[in-house]
C-alpha cells in the first residue's frame, strides 16, 4: 500500500536491533573470540599428532611436557570460550528482551491508535499471535542468531584463512563443497518459492489460531449444539491444513536439505583424494603428509559453524516473515493526529453534513475495497448544546450508534465535520478529546483488577475519597462495601464476578469520576439489571447534570423530557423536536412510540393455553 523505502528482511531486523547497538556489537565480538578459542582443540590435536608422527618409530622419545601442554591448553581455551559465550549470551539477551519489551509496548500503543474498525474486523487471536509469537521471533534473531551469525561467519573464514596459508590447494578442496552447498542453499531457501511457502505456512498457522480461539470462546455453543471438532466450522480443517502445509514444506525441502547436509559432512571425501593426488608430485612427501593430516583433523570441524549458518538461514526466513507481519500491523494507518492540538473552550457538539460508511473507513486502512456498502450516515447535521440532553432514536441500523462512535473518533468521518466548541475533533489531540468526552456503553468491559482501579481507570492523581464519592453517586458504594475486600476486591478470574447491573453502575462511577463536559450514553445501560433499575436510573440522573449529553435511546419513555430528540432513519435525521411535538407530527416517532407501548405489554403465553398471544 505504502511504497516508501521500507526495509525488509535482515536489513529491517538489523534496524530493530540497532536500538541496542553497542551491547550487540559487544555480544558479537565476544561470540567471535569465543568461537576462535573453540578452535584450540584442533590446533592441539595437530601439534600432538605432529609430535607423535615425528617419533612414530620410537614412541618413548616423545616430549611428554609438550604433549601435556597442548592437552591442557585445549581444555583451558575451552573454558575461556565457554565463559565468553556466556557473557555474549547475557549481553545479547539483555538487549533482546529490552527491544522486545519496547516493541510490544509500541505495538500496544499503536493498536490503541487504530480506528475501532480494525478491532472489530481483526480477530484477537490473530493480533495476539503477532504480539506474542512474531515478536518472540525477533528475540530469536537478536539474542541467538546475531551473535551466532558473527561466530558462524568468522570462524570458518578464519579457519580457511589459516588453511590457505598452510596449503592453498587443500584449502580449495575444503572450500569448494562449502561454497557449493551454500549456493544451493541460497537458491533453494531464499528464492521466491521459499518465500511463498513460508507465507502459506504462516497463513495456515494464523487460520488455525483464529479457529482455536473461537472454538474455546464459543465453547458453550459448541457443547449445546453437540458440535464436534470435526464438524466444527473449520477448526479441524485448519488443524489439518496446518499439518499439510508443514508436511508439504518438509517434503519439498527433503532432497535439497539432505544434500546440503551430506556435502557439508563429507568434506573429507573431497580433501583426501586431493591430498593423495598431490602427494604423488610432492618433493617432500613426509612433511606434506603432516599437513594433510592437519587438514584431515580440521576439515570435519568446518561444517559445524556452517551448519549453524544453515539453521540461521532457514530461521531467518521465518523471522523475516514474522517481522513483516509486525510491520504490516505498524503500517496500518492510525488516525491522524494534529500537529498542534487545539483545545476547545466550550463544549457544544456539532455535526456538519457528516457522511460516513464503515466499508469505506475500513478500506482506507486495508487493501480490500467494497464500494457497494451503503452509507451509515448520509449528511447528518445537528447541534447538541451545552447543558442539554440530545436523544438519538430510530430503528437499529439507522445510525444512532454510529453518531456515538464518531464523536470519540473510533472512526473518522468520510466527509463533513464534527466540532466541539467550534473546533474540528480532528484538530483536537486524541488525549485531549478523550478527556473531553465520557462514554457509558451498553456492554461494559471490566478489567481484571481491583474495583477501585476499575473506577479509577489509570487516574492516579485522584484520592480514595473521590473514588468513593463517585461510587456513592453511581449507587455502587453499597454493594462494593459488602464484598470481602471492599474496593480492593479483584474482578474476574479468581476474584468476584459482578452482575450486569453492578458492572453498569461501575461504568457510571468511572464516568462520574472522569467528569468530562461531554457525555455519550447508551440508555439501555439502565435496563441491564432490572432488579437494580431504580439505582441505575438514579446514577444516570446524577451523571448527566450540567453536561452536554448525547443519549442513544431505546426506551422512548426515558427520553420524553429530552431537550432535543433526533429521529434517525437509514442514516438521515428524519424528524427532530421534543416529545410532544414529534407525537403531534404523526410520523416515524409516533409509530415507534406506539410500537414501544405495545412491546411493554408483552408477556409469555402460559403453557397450558398453547396459543401464542402476541402483543398488539
Amino acid at each position: 500500500m505504502r511504497t516508501a523505502k521500507k526495509k525488509t528482511g535482515i536489513a529491517r531486523l538489523l534496524e530493530i536491533a540497532d536500538a541496542k547497538r553497542r551491547l550487540l556489537v559487544l555480544a558479537c565480538c565476544l561470540a567471535i573470540v569465543s568461537s576462535l578459542l573453540m578452535l584450540a582443540p584442533f590446533l592441539s590435536a595437530y601439534h600432538i599428532l605432529k609430535e607423535l608422527l615425528r617419533n612414530a618409530a620410537n614412541p618413548s622419545a616423545n616430549d611428554v611436557n609438550l604433549l601435556l601442554f597442548w592437552a591442557i591448553a585445549a581444555f583451558v581455551a575451552l573454558l575461556a570460550a565457554l565463559a565468553l559465550l556466556y557473557a555474549s549470551a547475557i549481553a545479547s539477551h539483555y538487549a533482546a528482551f529490552d527491544i522486545l519489551y519496547n516493541l510490544r509496548i509500541r505495538l500496544a500503543r499503536h493498536l490503541a491508535a487504530l480506528p475501532m474498525g480494525f478491532h472489530t474486523r481483526e480477530s484477537t487471536g490473530t493480533i495476539r499471535k503477532t504480539l506474542e509469537v512474531n515478536v518472540e521471533k525477533v528475540e530469536a534473531f537478536i539474542a541467538h542468531q546475531l551473535p551466532d551469525l558473527a561466530g558462524a561467519v568468522s570462524l570458518p573464514l578464519l579457519m580457511l584463512a589459516g588453511m590457505f596459508v598452510l596449503d592453498w590447494r587443500l584449502a580449495l578442496a575444503c572450500t569448494l563443497p562449502i561454497v557449493a552447498a551454500f549456493v544451493m542453499q541460497g537458491v533453494v531457501f531464499q528464492g521466491q518459492k521459499a518465500r511463498e511457502h513460508t507465507r502459506q505456512y504462516h497463513d495456515a498457522l494464523e487460520k488455525m489460531n483464529a479457529a482455536g480461539v473461537e472454538y474455546v470462546r464459543g465453547m458453550p455453543a459448541v457443547k449445546v449444539f453437540g458440535i464436534t471438532v470435526r464438524s466444527f466450522l473449520g477448526f479441524h480443517a485448519a488443524i489439518e491444513g496446518y499439518r499439510e502445509q508443514a508436511e508439504q514444506i518438509s517434503r519439498t525441502y527433503k532432497h535439497p536439505y539432505t544434500l546440503f547436509f551430506v556435502i557439508l559432512s563429507s568434506i573429507l571425501a573431497f580433501v583426501l583424494p586431493t591430498g593423495l593426488y598431490l602427494l604423488g608430485g610432492e618433493p617432500d612427501p613426509s612433511s606434506f603428509a603432516v599437513t594433510l593430516l592437519l587438514f584431515l583433523v580440521m576439515a570435519p570441524g568446518l561444517p559445524m559453524p556452517v551448519l549453524k549458518l544453515l539453521n540461521i538461514g532457514g530461521n531467518l526466513r521465518m523471522i523475516a516473515e514474522g517481522v513483516e507481519r509486525i510491520d504490516a500491523l505498524f503500517a496500518t494507518g492510525p488516525l491522524a493526529e494534529p500537529d498542534r492540538p487545539a483545545v476547545p473552550k466550550t463544549h457544544a457538539v456539532a455535526f456538519e453534513a457528516v457522511h460516513f460508511s464503515y466499508a469505506e473507513a475500513d478500506s482506507a486502512t486495508d487493501a480490500a475495497t467494497d464500494n457497494a456498502a451503503p452509507e451509515a450516515l448520509a449528511g447528518v447535521s445537528f447541534v447538541a448544546e451545552e447543558n442539554t440532553i440530545t436523544a438519538l432514536v430510530g430503528p437499529s441500523g439507522s445510525g444512532k450508534s454510529t453518531i456515538a462512535n464518531l464523536i470519540p473518533r473510533f472512526w473518522d468521518v468520510s466527509s463533513g465535520a464534527i466540532r466541539i466548541g467550534g473546533v474540528d475533533i480532528r484538530e483536537i489531540g486524541t488525549a485531549q478529546l478523550m478527556d473531553t468526552v465520557s462514554f457509558v456503553f451498553q456492554d461494559v468491559h471490566l478489567f481484571h483488577d481491583t474495583i477501585e482501579e476499575n473506577i479509577r481507570m489509570g487516574r492516579a492523581d485522584l484520592d480514595r475519597e473521590q473514588v468513593v464519592a463517585a461510587a456513592k453517586a453511581a449507587r455502587c458504594h453499597e454493594f462494593i462495601s459488602t464484598l470481602p475486600d471492599g474496593y480492593a476486591t479483584r474482578i474476574g478470574e479468581g476474584g468476584t464476578y459482578l452482575s450486569g447491573g453492578e458492572g453498569q453502575r461501575l461504568a457510571i462511577a468511572r464516568a462520574l469520576l472522569k467528569n468530562a463536559p461531554i457525555l455519550v450514553l447508551d440508555e439501555a445501560t439502565a435496563f441491564a439489571d432490572p432488579e437494580n433499575e431504580a439505582l441505575i436510573q438514579e446514577g444516570i440522573n446524577s451523571l448527566i447534570k450540567g453536561k452536554t449529553v448525547l443519549v442513544i435511546a431505546h426506551r422512548l419513555a426515558s427520553i420524553r423530557e429530552a431537550d432535543q430528540i433526533l429521529v434517525m432513519d437509514r442514516g438521515r435525521i428524519a424528524e427532530r423536536g421534543q416529545h410532544e411535538e414529534l407525537l403531534a407530527a404523526q410520523g416515524l416517532y409516533r409509530r415507534m412510540w406506539e410500537a414501544y407501548t405495545d412491546a411493554e405489554a408483552w408477556h409469555l403465553p402460559a403453557g397450558e393455553s398453547g396459543a401464542i398471544k402476541e402483543a398488539a
Binding site: I127, V216, I227, A246, S265, L279, H554
Partner: protein, 579 residues
C-alpha cells in the same frame, strides 16, 4: 522421562520409536568416516614408523569408500528428515484434535474458571513446542546418548584406561543436568506463568479497546499490560542468566573427558602401553562423540521447557468429564429435590425443591445473585449438584450422559456466541444436516429472515469473531432460530434477552413466543410483567426458595414477589432528568 514421553505424544510414546531409530542410524553413519580416516592415519603412520613409501592403493581405496559412503549417508538422512517431521506434525495434529474433543466433553463450569487465553495458548503454542521436540530434540537426544554407549563398549575392548578416562566425566555431566532440572523447572514455570499473564492481559487490552481508548490508557499507560510485559522481560532474562551457565558447565565437564583421555594416553604411549594407532582412534572417535552430546545438552534445557507444555496438556486431558452414560429421556417434568450447590466454597443454592411440569412455563424470580441462573445451569449440567437430585421424567440427571442431556435442551441466554462463519451456517448448527429450506424456515419463525435477506450477501454474510457486526437483538434472534431448528423439548430462557435490542424488542418477543410453544420452559425473569401469566413462579432469595405459586397467589402473599412487583411498577415510566 517415561512420563514425559507419554505426555508429549499424547499417550502414544511408540510413535517416537521410528524417528529415534532413523536418527540413531544417521548417527552411526557419521562414525564410519572417522573409522576410514583412522585407516588413513594408520597407513601414514606405518610409513613413518617403518620409513617406507606409503601404501597408495590402500589410500585410494579408502577414498572410494568415503565417496561411496556419502550415498549411504544421503539415504539415511533423507529418511530421518522425512520420518521425524511427519511423525511430529501428525502427533501434534491428532493431539490438538483430541484435546479439542476432550475440552468439549468437560463440564461447562470448567470454562468459567479458566482464562480462555490460557486454554488457546495450550491448544496452539504448547503443541508447537511438542512438535519441535518430537521432530528434533528427542531423536537427537536419544541418538546422542546411545551412540556414546555403543562407542564406549567398543573402546573398552581396545584400552579400558583410555575409555574410562574419556567417559569418566559423563556421569558428572548428567548429574549436573539432573540436579539442575528441579531449579530449571521452577524458573521456567515462572516464565511460563509470565507468558500466560501477558497473553491474558493482552486479550483484555484488545477486548476492552473502547474503554482503553476513552480513558487514554493506550500502551504503557495501561499499567496491567505494561507490568505483564515488564515481568516477562525480567523472567526471560532471569531464565537465561540461570539456565545457560548450567548447560555451559555441563559442556565443560563433558569436554574435560577428552582432555583427561589425552593426558592418560600420553603417559600410556610414552610408557609403551598403548600403540599410536589406538591412541589416534580414541582421539578421532572421542571428538565425534563429544560433539553431538554437547549439542544435545544445549537442547536438554529446551526439552525441560517442553515438558512443562506437555504437563499442562496432560493436566487438562486428565480433567475428568462429567460421569453418566444413560440416555436422557425426551422431555418430561423437571424436578429439583432438596438441591444444594456451592461454587468455590460459596453456597449458591440451599435445599431447593420445586417442580417444573412438562409442557408448562415455570418462571424463576429473585434479586441478582439469588441463584436463578445457577438453577438453569445445573439442569444443563454445567456442574453437578452437591446434594439432592435433579430429575427429568423421573431419571436422575447425574446418571445421564451430559451430551444427551444437552441434546434435549435449548438455551437462549444473554451472551450469544456467533461463529466466524456465514449467518446460514450459524443457524444450521442447530441441527445436523439441516437443509437451506429448514434454515430459512427457522429464520422466518425467529423473525430474522427479513434482516438477513437485507444484508449484502443474505444468508452467506459472514459474521465476525463473537459476531460483532450484528445488533444485540439480531444476534439474539439468530440464537432463537438455532434453537427453533434444534427443536429440543426443554427451553432454558433468560427473559432479559428480549430487551437487548429495544427497537426490535417486539420481534424478539414474537420469536420467543414461537420457540416456547408446547415446550417445558424454565425462564429467568427480570421483568415481572412478562411472566405474570406463567404457570408457576418460583421466587428465590439467597439461594433458597422462599415463595412459589401463580402470579395472583404470590401477590396475595405480600412477600418478596409483591415487593418486587411494586418496585418495578414504579421504575417503568422513568424519564431521564438531571438530578
Amino acid at each position: 522421562m517415561k512420563h514425559f514421553l507419554y505426555n508429549i505424544t499424547g499417550g502414544n510414546p511408540r510413535a517416537l520409536l521410528e524417528p529415534c531409530l532413523v536418527s540413531l542410524a544417521t548417527g552411526f553413519c557419521q562414525i564410519v568416516p572417522s573409522l576410514l580416516i583412522f585407516a588413513v592415519f594408520d597407513t601414514i603412520y606405518l610409513a613413518h614408523a617403518r620409513e617406507q613409501a606409503m601404501h597408495m592403493e590402500k589410500l585410494w581405496g579408502i577414498c572410494a569408500l568415503l565417496a561411496g559412503w556419502m550415498l549411504v549417508e544421503y539415504a539415511a538422512r533423507a529418511r530421518a528428515h522425512e520420518k521425524t517431521a511427519m511423525v511430529a506434525y501428525q502427533l501434534s495434529a491428532t493431539g490438538r484434535t483430541e484435546l479439542a474433543e476432550h475440552l468439549r466433553k468437560l463440564p461447562l463450569g470448567f470454562f468459567g474458571r479458566r482464562d480462555p487465553a490460557a486454554l488457546t495458548t495450550m491448544l496452539l503454542n504448547d503443541y508447537s513446542n511438542v512438535e519441535t521436540t518430537v521432530s528434533f530434540y528427542v531423536p537427537q537426544l536419544v541418538s546422542a546418548v546411545i551412540l556414546p554407549v555403543v562407542v564406549f563398549s567398543i573402546m573398552l575392548l581396545f584400552s579400558p584406561q583410555m575409555a574410562l578416562a574419556m567417559f569418566l566425566p559423563l556421569p558428572l555431566c548428567f548429574g549436573i543436568m539432573w540436579l539442575s532440572s528441579g531449579l530449571q523447572k521452577k524458573i521456567s514455570g515462572r516464565h511460563v506463568r509470565a507468558r500466560e499473564d501477558c497473553a491474558g492481559r493482552l486479550q483484555e487490552y484488545l477486548l476492552g479497546m473502547r474503554e482503553i481508548k476513552s480513558h487514554n490508557l493506550s500502551g504503557e499507560r495501561f499499567e496491567a499490560l505494561r507490568e505483564a510485559f515488564a515481568r516477562l522481560k525480567r523472567e526471560s532474562l532471569r531464565m537465561e542468566i540461570i539456565v545457560v551457565p548450567i548447560v555451559l558447565i555441563a559442556i565443560a565437564a563433558l569436554r574435560s573427558g577428552l582432555t583427561l583421555m589425552l593426558l592418560i594416553g600420553t603417559f600410556l604411549l610414552v610408557d609403551g602401553e598403548l600403540s599410536l594407532p589406538i591412541f589416534l582412534l580414541f582421539l578421532l572417535l572421542g571428538m565425534r562423540v563429544v560433539e553431538p552430546l554437547s549439542v544435545a545438552l544445549v537442547h536438554y534445557a529446551e526439552l525441560r521447557y517442553t515438558a512443562l507444555s506437555a504437563d499442562r496438556i496432560m493436566a487438562i486431558r486428565q480433567e475428568p468429564p462429567l460421569p453418566g452414560t444413560g440416555q436422557a429421556p425426551c422431555g418430561g417434568d423437571i424436578r429439583f429435590d432438596r438441591v444444594s450447590f456451592a461454587y468455590r466454597h460459596t453456597d449458591v443454592l440451599q435445599e431447593v425443591s420445586f417442580l417444573a411440569p412438562a409442557g408448562r412455563v415455570t418462571a424463576l424470580v429473585g434479586p441478582s445473585g439469588s441463584g436463578k441462573s445457577t438453577i438453569t445451569r445445573l439442569i444443563a449440567r454445567f456442574w453437578d449438584v452437591r446434594q439432592g437430585t435433579i430429575s427429568l421424567a423421573g431419571h436422575d440427571l447425574a446418571t445421564c450422559d451430559p451430551e444427551s442431556i444437552l441434546a434435549r435442551i435449548s438455551m437462549v441466554f444473554q451472551d450469544v456466541y456467533l461463529f466466524r462463519d456465514s449467518i446460514g451456517n450459524n443457524i444450521a448448527v442447530g441441527r445436523k444436516n439441516a437443509t437451506r429450506r429448514e434454515v430459512e424456515e427457522a429464520a422466518k419463525k425467529a423473525c430474522c429472515h427479513d434482516f438477513i435477506t437485507a444484508l449484502p450477501q443474505g444468508y452467506d454474510t459472514q459474521v465476525g469473531e463473537g459476531g460483532c457486526t450484528l445488533s444485540g437483538g439480531e444476534k439474539q434472534r439468530i440464537s432463537i432460530a438455532r434453537a427453533l431448528l434444534k427443536d429440543a423439548p426443554i427451553i432454558l430462557l433468560d427473559e432479559a434477552t428480549a430487551s437487548l435490542d429495544p427497537e426490535n424488542e417486539i420481534y424478539v418477543q414474537r420469536a420467543i413466543n414461537a420457540l416456547v410453544a408446547n415446550k417445558t420452559v424454565l425462564i429467568i425473569a427480570h421483568r415481572l410483567r412478562t411472566i405474570r401469566r406463567a404457570d408457576w413462579i418460583v421466587v428465590l432469595d439467597h439461594g433458597r426458595v422462599i415463595e412459589q405459586g401463580t402470579h395472583e397467589q404470590l401477590l396475595a402473599e405480600n412477600g418478596l414477589y409483591q415487593h418486587l412487583w411494586a418496585l418495578q411498577s414504579r421504575t417503568a415510566g422513568w424519564s431521564m432528568r438531571p438530578a
